[in-house]
């Protein structure tokens, strides 16, 4: 108990760090995931290929390896001078986007083809059809898997702690290095994660209830 009260500032900072990193990389993963899902169902073969490569690459690479790439390869080959936080954001966002993409694609596949055919028959372009007709109807199916993906993302963000980004799991290392009882530290850290993951599943359950499409 004392560990928490004496180091509330560290715990709070770590908690906020995890929340912010999860939110930011979740947002990035959503945006990228939707775009890549669009690529994967596109009528243009090169875009489809790009989507497939993206998913294959990021879904099949261990996240820690992506972190290593973000830390040691990206600065050398692509953009130097990124902050650790940005690098963590990119690694988490790209990794998670591949899972988001596949969840959204499975949602797209549940929308009857006739819906897209009707939209195209009206003269709507592929992008209009996807954005206004297909994706809105795919949303509800996609919400349960997305909820799991974002919970996994929250927990995956712990890896950033090992790369000296301030977040909840890193607090554990900081304090146990100072010799505090490890069991208590872990308990408080775990509760912190629980608060975030429960909020996510609550939020998504609410969304699921709101977004029914009657057929």
């Amino acid at each position: 108990m004392n560990v928490l009260l004496d180091h509330l500032a560290e715990f709070r900072e770590g908690f906020i760090g995890t929340v912010l990193l999860t939110l930011a990389s979740g947002l990035l993963a959503m945006v990228l995931g939707v775009i890549v899902a669009g690529f994967r169902v596109s009528p243009v073969p090169p875009l489809r290929l790009l989507g497939t490569v993206w998913v294959t690459l990021f879904r099949n690479t261990p996240l820690t390896l992506l972190f290593l790439v973000a830390w040691f390869v990206v600065p050398v080959i692509f953009v130097p001078g990124l902050s650790p936080w940005t690098k963590a954001l990119l690694a988490l966002g790209f990794y998670t986007s591949s899972f988001v993409c596949e969840a959204i694609r499975s949602g797209i596949n549940t929308v009857p083809v006739g819906q897209a055919e009707a939209a195209r028959s009206l003269g709507m372009t592929f992008t209009q059809t996807l954005r206004m007709i297909v994706l809105p109807q795919a949303t509800r199916t996609v919400i349960p898997p997305l909820s799991s993906i974002f919970i996994a993302l929250t927990k995956n963000s712990a890896i950033a702690g090992a790369f000296s980004v301030t977040e909840l799991f890193g607090v554990q290392k900081l304090l146990s290095d100072q010799g505090f009882a490890i069991a208590w530290i872990f308990l408080w850290v775990a509760l912190g994660y629980l608060v975030i993951t429960f909020s996510i599943s609550g939020l998504f359950r609410l969304l699921e209830r709101r977004l029914g499409v009657a057929r």
């Binding site: 028959s121 009206l122 003269g123 206004m132 057929r215």
Partner: protein, 258 residues
């Protein structure tokens, strides 16, 4: 893809609106459309009939390129069908399509269904689009359902909304792909009446259907298809009373005598 383009320029000048020339299509090993030649004049109502699997639905869907063709040409109002993209989208806006399964947008109200194409494709302003949508819904007799969602409507009502949605684009030609085949018998007539009115108003229509009564009363021409080919074309009176081909005689004897 072999391009068979014969005298493209004289098409636009005449009254020919939809022209199919030597159209071929395969589904794997199945040759669904075999050397189809078909010309539809402006204002003409053509009914396509034939046994199931004869390729009539596929034919209908190739005209706005929901199905691609392997060879031959399709021109609409003198313009050959372009590849998938913006130009094709523009052309599709001029070709109304009514599906067997209605395909109303499930997440939009009836009114929104009829407004969407006008606003997003024709770039009509919202107020004008709504006015037009309401008058079209009134014309097909579902004005009171404007604020409901498609799932709350009967099949017949949904199909009439689908017709209104297509008409909202001011199409040059309307394609009907078995518009009454998914309907309960008591709802078929309400849809056919709307279509008959449309035919009387001079709309160019290509109708794939099993409704022989509609073919008799509304069609200028009946096209009989079997096994991917056009077997016979005639005015309805002649086709139904005195079919020339054995295939058509056989088909008519099966559907007309019970």
């Amino acid at each position: 893809m072999t391009e068979v383009s014969v005298a493209k320029e004289d098409v636009a000048a005449t009254g020919e609106l939809v022209v199919l020339k030597s159209v071929n299509k395969h589904f794997g090993a199945l040759h669904v459309l075999q050397d189809i030649d078909l010309t539809i004049a402006r204002g003409e109502v053509v009914v396509v009939i034939g046994p199931s699997g004869s390729g009539k639905s596929t034919l209908c869907r190739t005209i706005n390129r929901l199905e691609t063709i392997d060879s031959g040409t399709i021109t609409i109002d003198g313009k050959p069908l372009p590849q998938e993209g913006r130009e094709l989208a523009r052309l599709r806006a001029d070709v109304g399509m009514v599906f067997q399964s209605f395909n109303l947008f499930a997440h939009k109200t009836v009114l929104e269904n009829v407004m969407l194409g006008q606003i997003k494709v024709r770039k009509t302003d919202k107020k004008q689009a709504e006015e037009k949508a309401r008058s079209l819904l009134d014309r097909v007799g579902v004005a009171t359902q404007a604020d409901k969602y498609p799932a709350q409507l009967s099949g017949g009502q949904q199909q009439r909304v689908a017709i209104a949605r297509a008409l909202a684009m001011d199409p040059k030609v309307m394609l009907f792909d078995e518009p009454t085949s998914a309907l309960d018998p008591e709802m078929i007539n309400e849809v056919l009446e709307v279509m008959q009115q449309l035919a009387r108003d001079g709309m160019t229509m290509i109708v794939v259907t099993h409704e022989m009564g509609f073919a008799r009363s509304a069609a200028n021409r009946v096209v009989f298809m079997a096994d991917g080919r056009i077997v016979e074309e005639a005015v309805p009176g002649q086709f139904f009373s005195n079919p020339r081909s054995d295939r058509a005689k056989d088909f008519l004897s099966k559907i007309l005598h019970h």
